[in-house]
Symmetry: C2
Subunit: 468 residues, 2 copies
Amino acid sequence: MTISKSLFPAAAGFAGAMLLATTAIAQQPAAATPLADRYRPAATRLLAAALSDSSAYNRLARLTDTFGHRLSGSASLEAAIDWILAEMKRDGLENVRGERAMVPHWVRGEESATLVSPRPYRLHMLGLGRSVGTAPRGITAAVMVVGSFDEFAKRQAEAKGKIVLFDAPFVSYGETVRYRGAAASTAARAGAVAALIRSVASNSMQNPHTGAMSYDTTIARIPAAALSVEDAMMLHRMSDRGDKTVMTLKMGAQTLPDAPSRNIVAEIVGSGKPDEVVVLGGHIDSWDVGQGAMDDGGGSVAAWEAVRLIEQLGLKPRRTIRVVLWTNEENGSRGGLAYRDTHSAELEKHVMAMESDNGVFQPLGYRIGGSDSAIAIGRDIASLLSSIGATNVVAGGPEADVEPLFERGVPAVSLAVDGTRYFWYHHSEADTMDKLNPREMAQCVALMAVMAYIVADMPGTMGRAPKP
Amino acid sequence: MTISKSLFPAAAGFAGAMLLATTAIAQQPAAATPLADRYRPAATRLLAAALSDSSAYNRLARLTDTFGHRLSGSASLEAAIDWILAEMKRDGLENVRGERAMVPHWVRGEESATLVSPRPYRLHMLGLGRSVGTAPRGITAAVMVVGSFDEFAKRQAEAKGKIVLFDAPFVSYGETVRYRGAAASTAARAGAVAALIRSVASNSMQNPHTGAMSYDTTIARIPAAALSVEDAMMLHRMSDRGDKTVMTLKMGAQTLPDAPSRNIVAEIVGSGKPDEVVVLGGHIDSWDVGQGAMDDGGGSVAAWEAVRLIEQLGLKPRRTIRVVLWTNEENGSRGGLAYRDTHSAELEKHVMAMESDNGVFQPLGYRIGGSDSAIAIGRDIASLLSSIGATNVVAGGPEADVEPLFERGVPAVSLAVDGTRYFWYHHSEADTMDKLNPREMAQCVALMAVMAYIVADMPGTMGRAPKP
């Protein structure tokens, strides 16, 4: 997951929704409704099929073990896409294809941050995505440590010629990711030569966390990197004690010309209203560390498996169900935009778009961006998931790839999951298979399958989403 | 902490004691006893002083930030010892000195483990302490993955010429650390060329964990290293799927001639029975990753601060209180042995030896190796700690540095602490200051100060410890 276009409101919405979802008092079971009654048999079959084995987990393990991480522009992303397309055809899905999208091609290169004073020490760092690099000899400069933008604003006269470290504690992703986005230009405006942040993470075992940053186009571009939480705190203590902190930062990062990539698309064509479409998916790209198992291999494979199960059970819906594994969510959102543009003429007939991008952890229910009636329908559907306790429905904004569709009136659904550990692993080497649990992932598959099938088959629709 | 000489019984005792301590139902408050009544005013003063500020935490932060990790034979260990000796003199402690001990001098050198097949990937690894290295070109060989010694025993005919990975899940430290100790010789006996283990850790964010291994002297020495939990599990999955796994292992490890080091010793000389001695301490050496903040800078500084507080409050005990910061606990236990040998003639008059080496986390009480009367006295003393909930006393064996004294009849006391996260950080890059909490550390200082002062001042003694 990244937080892209509408950076701060979406992030705050996300954090708020998660909090609500994880702390909400158990809702009263909804009284059985005609919709729930009608689809109870299908939901029961989908739940049983999803929970009968670990096929989703095993498929994700094969994907991540075989191809590793999948940054936009990389050979591993395109090889993973080729493999998934072939597997989807083998699964018997229809209209399997890659839809072209040109994506940013940022490469990390060799990088290091080494403390020179008060003692030699190789820091745990990761350059931030989109950052420029340094000259090969690196930048050697004194480090100025601040705890917040506010502190920096008061002390910015000290920043000239320095590497500025923003050692801001994690409050929430929406709040703290502002440092990742804006540290470089904030520091550069005051004459700094590079910017560092404390990794945006809610726990740490010396694993730095990368993610996208952005430059103010009116300000000089300076290199930007994240330190591990541990190392940022150590530099802060040294600075508070009055130690002279000097560092050499080397980053080989560069942005190459845009590269071709693809959104993966496959369908179950609707039996009655094939031109009306339910979209569900995740994003197949990842950062270039860890294996992108949680973010967002898990959401991608869960959506794919949900559609495979619907197909396998012979549940032919009236509308078309389309699984989309978006490319380039992490550093450009070009996949989500390309899908919107490629399918622009059909969007009026997109009745729902669902993305899983919070990790396929224990699901609690759904987050829905849409009209009141969309949320009411979501509650009906969630009532069918009481056997796995996933009946919570909260109102909230879309995931990044679905946002361009939501802005065009398509109701947006996300999975609400137990987010306790998401920001421990996010965008770091620790985003690996073992962080996920086969049964929790199977439950997420069930949530996606039940929602997608019912919305694709039910007599009415969720209506259009109000203007955000 | 390592588990040295009597490897398995001590480990099992440790794990058992921790479990008991963390799960025990709160004990009934002991009825006030003459001992508790007599020392309640002193205990109250020591608690108040320890909890009044973060001086212990700040001192440890200065130590670890300034000197970093402190492996036996390293310049940083000896520089840290010099600094502590100077600070102890400044604190007004008596007879401050370094007592010589020759220590093993193992150095890691450059090292890497790189997967060649099924895909190129740099694994997260740490060579195990005491291991031999490889030739500079490294060892390239197929990887044989097993889940246990039992599985290896059944399949050992496959091991010849291979790198054997023991991917054993963490059960308890005592149980699972057997792989770290014995993997190399077990694999070598069957003709393997190197041995790997899954890191001995109860949680992981791609941080491999080192620690001491040992060689069977009748078997060829082959290099041994730990992989991160994540990477070991990935190789296991690949192997289960039938992927051909080939790796290149390079390790520059070597064992140099023994180096001089020192146990740090300082005292408050007893006012009435100066030749009777209460020892308390931690070990000042660490592994060469992370900063050795938890293992065992924390125990070392807690013991030192406990003695400083007793001195500062003018609580002149009748017996001598001696703080000892042992060297080389991690890879040789030479500090503990040297203390025993240097003080051999005095050991009959050592009335207690206490070490903190489980992390200065939230204290629950004490673990005591000694006679029934020692445990009863421990319970009396612990009853004075009810304000911080640290009244649990369990019977259990000594920490490693105290073991040679315990074997000579000296009652051994350890801190029982919340061990939930100890094996997340242990012997890894993640053993850093931020894992500790100033208030919890201050509580550990209080536990050490109260126990040391009362046992040094009380009319009788704990008696001798029975033969282990």
